[in-house]
């Protein structure tokens, strides 16, 4: 039976099955079944939050879990009017932190990775090991000393206190170095230099266009990691109007533990919070070059 799904295979499929007389396309039931169970497991909570966000508070605790309710519009109205429109503010904050942070982080990481991959200079090894140490060091354990230092210089509680620490990503620099090493031929750089181009021009005109796929990957990874970050903004910020979505929803839920009326707010909030990111991932799926991550490994 011929398959109709377009497989994303990059290598040609084998035509011989190795057993004469075997059908050319044996149906594989078990792999499909296992994969579908996995897909179901991953989609159930998402489906649940979408359905639960249509329920009014009373329906939430009385009707069957996967039966849609009648309260979607009320829930949305409550969500966006909560605390004088705080939710929209949180969403905007998340967008600012993740948007600006990941764009700047991508540029900074790319420049550093390019230098590490394409130049030999005194101190290169030290820099490289410092970055590896940074990759292995859990960033979260630094959040508290970072907060104390921010307090010292009077930045704690400002947008900068969340934005600045997220501009440095040792892993992003590592990926940029791997990618620059693979994608930018030294001969091309040398040729441009002979033509009289300076280092800055070699970088902007020659290297950057070649580095775009890698940069997109670093950008996406960093965007998701800033968007999903909880502890850093949780520690740094005290003004509710500056919270990103993660911290905002958390405070909503902890307030709601005594008042179930806030449950439906937390649920609709979660639904609205994940939809844009899921859409972004699906749209940009083609641009993920995660082979970078394992491509930098030596087997």
């Amino acid at each position: 039976m011929a398959t109709t799904t377009v497989s994303p295979a990059t290598r040609p499929l084998p035509t011989a099955t190795g057993r004469p007389g075997a059908p050319a396309h044996p149906r594989r039931i078990v792999p499909t079944l296992v994969l579908l169970i996995g897909a179901l497991y991953c989609l159930v909570p998402v489906a649940w939050v979408v359905i639960a966000s249509t329920k009014s508070n009373s329906e939430l605790f009385t009707t069957f879990t996967f039966a849609p309710g009648s309260g979607l519009w009320d829930n949305l109205r409550d969500l966006f009017s909560y605390g004088g429109g705080q939710f929209a503010q949180w969403a905007l904050n998340s967008l600012i932190f993740a948007g600006f942070g990941s764009v700047a982080c991508t540029l900074i990481s790319t420049m550093a990775g390019f230098a590490l991959a394409k130049y030999t200079f005194p101190g290169r090894q030290i820099v490289f090991y410092a970055i590896l140490g940074g990759v292995l060091l859990p960033g979260i354990t630094l959040a508290i000393p970072q907060y104390l230092l921010m307090s010292e210089i009077g930045l704690a509680g400002t947008y900068w206190s969340v934005l600045l620490p997220s501009l440095i990503s040792p892993f992003g620099i590592y990926l940029a170095r791997v990618y620059a090493g693979a994608a930018v031929p030294s001969e091309t750089m040398e040729a441009a230099r002979i033509d009289g181009a300076g280092d800055a021009r070699v970088f902007t005109a020659i290297a950057l266009p070649m580095l775009v796929p890698g940069m997109v990957t670093i950008f996406l990874l960093q965007f998701v990691s800033i968007w999903n970050n909880f502890l850093l903004p949780f520690i740094m910020l005290s003004d509710e109007r500056m919270y990103p979505l993660t911290v905002g929803l958390y405070t909503l839920l902890s307030k709601g533990s005594g008042t179930p009326s806030l449950y439906s707010l937390a649920i609709i909030g979660a639904a609205v919070a994940i939809i844009p990111l899921v859409v972004m991932m699906l749209v940009l799926q083609r641009y993920w070059r995660l082979d970078l991550i394992s491509g930098g490994l030596k087997g």
Binding site: T5, G134, P138, Q285
Partner: protein, 314 residues
């Protein structure tokens, strides 16, 4: 650019070029370097400094004043002798023993299945399994929390309809499985994609000979594919390990839903409490240093044991 220059300016220009060549890499590294020093190196050193300081009462009589002074290793002694901190590591170990192998095992299984020729629904499954990566940990905990909560759980609704007793998953031993499940759900897709892209990078003709020799897909997966994606497995294992030691958001988010999760359930929660609830910054700093160094040591050990030069040496 044309090279219509006389000898002298050319020489000058070459010299300037060479100086520029020497300066260039440092210029490219400057922004990252400044940020690295400001937000990674200095906080680390500052945490170390704080961890050796503490409030001690100085002066005589009942009206001694509290002053911050050098206290040597006493914060570290307090960290290692604190039963709550050690218990937190114990809970973390149970959680990790569940979360890490299951996440990696599922990720590897799904990646190998996706890599089989002619599997229906592979594309849909790949996308669906990857979606949780886009869901923040706090939101994931909130979703699962509601699925666990007896009053909103679909499993309990069914059990209730059948007149069976409720299932309680946020208490006792099963709690570890419930918290680990959130991490597994969040992590499987991303790890699967890393292993899958690594599988995709293997040239197909490697399998051809094996297929002609009559090897089954199972043999190929077990004898050829898994050894070849070893480095990807090491890397995903490393990230899973680092992620495990940093668990904070998930149990913290679940706390309002159950009494079984204390304020100090995992080490990072206790560090947070010491720093912000009890204002004992020195103890929090010492515990942070212990946690960071522990992570570093475990990571290096893992890389050593696997004997792979995982990070390509320049």
């Amino acid at each position: 650019m044309s090279a219509e220059t006389t000898a002298a300016p050319l020489e000058r220009r070459t010299r300037r070029r060479q100086r520029a060549r020497w300066v260039a890499p440092y210029t490219f590294l400057l922004p990252a370097g400044i940020l690295f020093i400001a937000f990674l190196a200095i906080p680390m050193v500052y945490a170390l400094y704080l961890s050796f300081r503490g409030l001690r009462v100085t002066g005589d009589g009942p009206f001694g004043i509290q002053e911050e002074t050098w206290v040597g290793l006493s914060n570290y002694v307090a960290t290692f002798t604190d039963p709550e901190f050690l218990a937190g590591f114990g809970r973390l170990a149970i959680y990790g023993v569940i979360a890490v192998p299951v996440t990696l095992g599922l990720a590897l299984t799904f990646a190998l299945l996706l890599d089989l020729p002619r599997v229906r629904g592979a594309r849909f499954a790949r996308t669906a399994i990857f979606i949780p990566y886009a869901v923040p940990g706090v939101v994931a905990s909130l979703l699962w929390g509601f699925l666990y909560l007896p009053s909103t759980s679909p499993a309990n609704w069914l059990l209730g309809q059948l007149g069976l007793p409720e299932l309680v998953v946020l208490e006792g031993g099963i709690l570890f499985g419930s918290v680990a499940n959130i991490a597994i759900w969040s992590g499987v897709g991303f790890n699967m994609i890393i292993i899958y892209t690594s599988l995709r990078g293997i040239p197909g003709d490697v399998y051809e000979a094996a297929r002609i020799d009559g090897a089954s897909e199972w043999d190929i997966a077990y004898r050829i594919k898994i050894p070849l994606v070893g480095p990807a497995l090491v890397l995903t294992g490393l990230f899973a390990l680092i992620g495990t030691l940093q668990v904070y958001g998930e149990p913290t988010t679940l706390r309002p839903m159950t009494n079984a999760i204390s304020q100090t359930w995992v080490p990072l929660m206790k560090i947070y409490r010491d720093a912000f609830v009890r204002d004992d910054l020195s103890l929090a700093a010492a515990s942070s240093v212990v946690l960071a160094l522990g992570t570093l040591v475990l990571s290096v050990l893992l890389l050593r044991i696997t004997q792979k030069r995982t990070f390509g040496e320049s």
